[in-house]
């Protein structure tokens, strides 16, 4: 065994608060499927105490995912389920500490960034290899980055991280320099993501199709053993892997022999399969089913996804959303705590800023997001919006009735709709398919858009809001854009923090962003599973995971 356990860096998974809700199977099977019955609060001793125990190598783990998006190439995928599998097959230049957000060494032992964050020099460790034994050298890094830029839109995440890419220079065998035409402070964090994870140079020559089918050779602790479309992705551990990142608890080979990602589209079947031991873990349970896995031979672990939280994004080129009074009133008229308490789970949290609290450089802005219906009404009164006969406000014969276009679960917005009605705002919900929502985004045909975006770097703010980037608000440039654009060039953490905080507050004050709640990912696993956790981007990390009966199995 080449594993070298270190003092675990990662603290125990966050535990859910004590609760009186343990699902018991109802007498009638059908009812059991539809209801989550409640009984006395079982409060098991911390089964995730795994972290204290000595990991053992060996054994297999099966993990349920909801969908196969027909591609598992780390440089192409964008779907959470595909990412869960793809992430394990590639190592990155850097890693990100889930707690501090700090960028740590992985394949690169050290790096330098120039003053305006437009040139990055990485010094690679000299012993790392791809799964087939070819060395990971400077030339391989160059081949990868060049290939991602060539893939273009198909590698949408990776090519977005490489916007402004001027080229990669092989300085010597273990030193590589990446240059940009413009400042790109986000790039260092980007090198820790799966999207810029490294594939062997030979894999870069494969067609997009072959790579989607898992025929690539990666650099991570696991390699693709088999991939059956719509059924399962089987990963096996890479023998001789000895360069675990500084963000992990050990550096040797992965503990698990294999990890099987089983596609189970139906939520109640995932619940039943986990309960009956046909799978070991999943991160895709229905909210009502989650409590029954808190104890009783199971454990839960959850983490808020970093990045931009679920927000209402006003399209300020549309008549109503262009009115700042309307935007700020809507933000004050939303009772975020009530949304979490009423329609979400204890694992979810109300938004306390445009960014979620697990994002590096996050600073809470609770003062700007307090529920203040009176304040909201005053703003609307002052702006000349007066209540009409049905309680909905009017101004110059126009009703204060607007529309949000979205595909996500509708419950939170249904509650927002009720809350806004009380301040005289009529929010119509337009629930569409993902495809239609993408089309609406692109054509700009919406009043309010609604989504979240996971990214463990504050630059996500700039990419969404800056008038010089995506410009989700479709507005003219103003003060906030200067702050956002400057933050892309800021290498000094203090300076960057200041710019990000100021920009976030300005976005909230002007009503360019109307945050609702933070998305979180919850792992539910059987007690035999240990060490399964999250990396900084709240993506799953199977590298430190092990199973109790592994050695004997």
């Amino acid at each position: 065994m080449t594993t070298t356990p270190r003092t675990p860096r990662r603290p125990r998974p966050l535990r859910t608060p004590r609760r009186h809700a343990v699902g018991i199977a109802a007498a009638v099977s059908a009812a059991a499927l539809l209801l989550s019955a409640c009984s006395g609060g079982a409060d098991a001793a911390d089964p995730a105490a795994s972290d204290d125990a000595e990991p053992v190598a060996g054994g297999d783990l099966s993990f349920a995912i909801t969908v196969d998006s027909h591609c598992i190439d780390p440089q192409q995928v964008g779907n959470n389920d595909a990412i869960a599998a793809a992430r394990q097959t590639v190592a990155s230049l850097t890693a990100q500490d889930p707690e501090s957000g700090e960028i740590l060494p992985w394949l690169a032992e050290s790096w330098e960034v120039n003053d305006d964050a437009s040139s990055y020099t990485f010094h690679l460790r000299d012993d790392a290899t791809f799964a087939d034994g070819t060395p990971i050298d400077a030339a391989a890094v160059k081949t990868n980055f060049d290939a991602i830029v060539d893939l273009g839109a198909v590698a949408s995440l990776g090519s977005q991280y490489l916007v402004g890419y001027a080229g990669t220079t092989v300085v010597d065998e273990d030193t590589v320099r990446v240059d940009f035409d413009e400042p790109s402070a986000q790039f260092l964090q980007a090198t820790s993501t799966f999207s810029l994870g490294l594939l062997s140079p030979d894999s870069a020559k494969l067609s997009a199709e072959q790579r989607c089918a898992g025929e690539y050779v990666g650099s991570g602790p696991f390699a693709v053993k088999s991939y059956t479309q719509d059924q399962e992705i089987v990963l096996e551990k890479v023998k001789g892997y000895a360069w675990g990142s500084a963000a992990n608890a050990h550096t040797g080979e992965a503990y698990l022999d294999t990890v099987t990602f089983t596609v189970i589209p139906e939520a109640s079947v995932r619940t039943g399969s986990l309960q009956s031991g046909q799978i070991d873990a999943t991160a895709a349970l229905n909210a009502v089913d989650v409590p029954q896995f808190d104890g009783n031979g199971f454990w839960l672990s959850y983490r808020a996804n970093p990045g931009v939280v679920f927000n209402l994004f006003p399209n300020e080129s549309s008549p109503l959303a262009s009115d700042e009074a309307v935007r700020t009133a809507i933000s004050k008229g939303i009772d975020r705590q009530q949304i979490v308490d009423t329609v979400l789970t204890p694992q979810d949290q109300p938004a306390t800023g445009v960014l979620s609290h697990s994002t590096p450089l996050f600073e809470g802005a609770d003062d700007l997001l307090a529920y203040d219906p009176d304040g909201a009404e005053k703003i609307l009164d002052d702006a000349g919006w007066v209540p009409g006969s049905d309680g909905i406000r009017e101004k110059d014969g126009r009703r204060l009735s607007t529309t949000v276009t979205f595909w996500q679960v509708p419950e939170p917005l249904e509650l927002v709709q009720q809350q806004l009605r009380q301040i005289g705002v009529d929010l119509q919900l337009k629930h569409v398919t993902v495809a239609e929502s993408e089309a609406a985004k692109e054509s700009g045909d919406f009043d309010f858009d609604y989504y979240n975006l996971t990214r463990s770097d504050a630059d996500v703010l700039r990419t969404i809001f800056s008038a010089n980037a995506r410009n989700i608000n479709q507005r003219d440039p103003e003060e906030v854009d200067r702050l956002l654009d400057d933050s892309a060039a800021a290498t000094d953490p203090k300076q960057r923090q200041k710019l990000v905080t100021e920009a976030s507050r300005l976005l909230l004050e002007r009503g360019h962003a109307i945050p609702v709640y933070e998305l979180s990912t919850t792992i539910a696993a059987a007690d035999r599973v240990h060490g399964l956790g999250f990396e900084a981007s709240s993506r799953l990390d199977f590298y430190d995971a092990w199973v109790t009966d592994g050695a004997g199995a």
Binding site: S69, H70, C71, V77, Q160, V263, P265, V269, K441
Partner: protein, 331 residues
């Protein structure tokens, strides 16, 4: 007979073309942008450079006029090439071919179970002397038709996989994984068949020729199975073609509930991702299956009842009405 066959094959080709054309335009008229979907990688919102999106559109030929795209797709389809998946880049035909065997296994098994089970229930609902038994058994088919496939599947899973771990809840491995899905899929089809067959049996059993059989001293079993069943089978046989279509449709729900690989799952996933070439391939294949099955059913009629002849006459579009409608056989 040859003329009849030729005409039917011609009709079949027309059906295939119509299915292809309608599906093509419906899919392209949906309010979505395939290029944006490809770029999103099936994930959260993408923020792709418009120039890159344009390049992607050009690469997939999505920037050409709709009719040009249609013409090219149709020409390619004639040579058996239904394009490549927008998502995985694999050929749509190969993706469908990969999923098809699993669905054929499932629907084949379900068809056999539905025919055997449906016939057994139908006969059992007219055979017993005890009236209450006949009534009780007659209530089964409407119940089976009324139960949603989704519900049946979940109940079976709950009892025979989650509580009593007899069968696996997920996957395609081995015959044992086929048991619960087959039952789930066969219930509505078998019930439909039983409903038609038992009604037809009750009618047939009142026919004079059955009286004659009784009078000649034929046994109860012989009257029911040898004399009545064969004639009563024709209306039930007519729905068989429709039933195969229904089973293919039912596979969508069944494969989803049981996490089985197959055509149904591929359809759902491809529709969600607006993977147009794959959806088109599925539609064309389903239409092909339907055309073939209905043709086979029609060719088998004369074997069931020699009075039915197949002719290719212009004024009588259905071969059945050409001579004798199945429901007139016993008139």
């Amino acid at each position: 007979m040859t003329r009849y066959l030729l005409r039917r094959v011609g009709q079949g080709i027309f059906v295939l073309w119509a299915a292809f054309t309608i599906a093509f335009f419906v899919l392209y008229l949906l309010p979505s942008d395939p290029a944006a979907l490809i770029a999103s990688g099936g994930g959260e919102v993408s923020q792709v450079d418009p120039a890159q999106l344009a390049a992607l559109r050009a690469e997939y030929g999505l920037d050409r006029p709709l009719l040009v795209q249609y013409g090219d797709a149709l020409l390619a389809a004639l040579t058996g090439d239904l394009g490549t998946s927008y998502v995985s880049g694999a050929s749509a035909t190969s993706m469908v071919a990969q999923a098809l065997p699993e669905t054929l296994k499932l629907t084949g098994a379900a068809l056999v179970l539905a025919v055997v089970g449906g016939t057994a229930v139908a006969v059992a609902s007219v055979f017993p002397r005890a009236r209450f038994l006949r009534q009780a058994l007659s209530a089964l088919p409407p119940l089976g038709v009324a139960l949603p496939t989704f519900f049946v599947g979940l109940v079976l899973l709950q009892w025979f996989s989650f509580r009593v771990p007899v069968f696996p809840a997920i996957g395609n491995e081995g015959a044992v994984s086929l048991v619960l899905p087959t039952i789930t899929l066969a219930v509505p089809a078998g019930a439909q068949l039983a409903q038609i067959l038992s009604r037809s049996l009750r009618g047939t059993l009142g026919e004079p020729y059955v009286e004659t059989a009784w009078a000649k001293g034929a046994s109860r079993t012989r009257v029911h199975l040898a004399h009545a069943l064969r004639n009563a089978a024709i209306p039930a046989f007519t729905v068989l073609g429709v039933m195969v279509g229904g089973l293919l449709g039912g596979a969508v729900v069944t494969e989803t509930v049981f996490s089985r690989v197959g055509l149904g799952r591929l359809t759902v996933q491809s529709v969600n991702q607006q993977d147009v070439p794959v959806v088109l391939a599925v539609v064309v294949l389903s239409a092909l299956v339907f055309v073939v099955v209905t043709l086979v059913v029609d060719l088998v009629y004369p074997l069931l009842d020699p009075r039915i002849q197949l002719r290719a006459e212009r004024r009588s579009p259905s071969p059945r009405t050409a001579t004798l409608r199945p429901d007139e056989v016993t008139a």
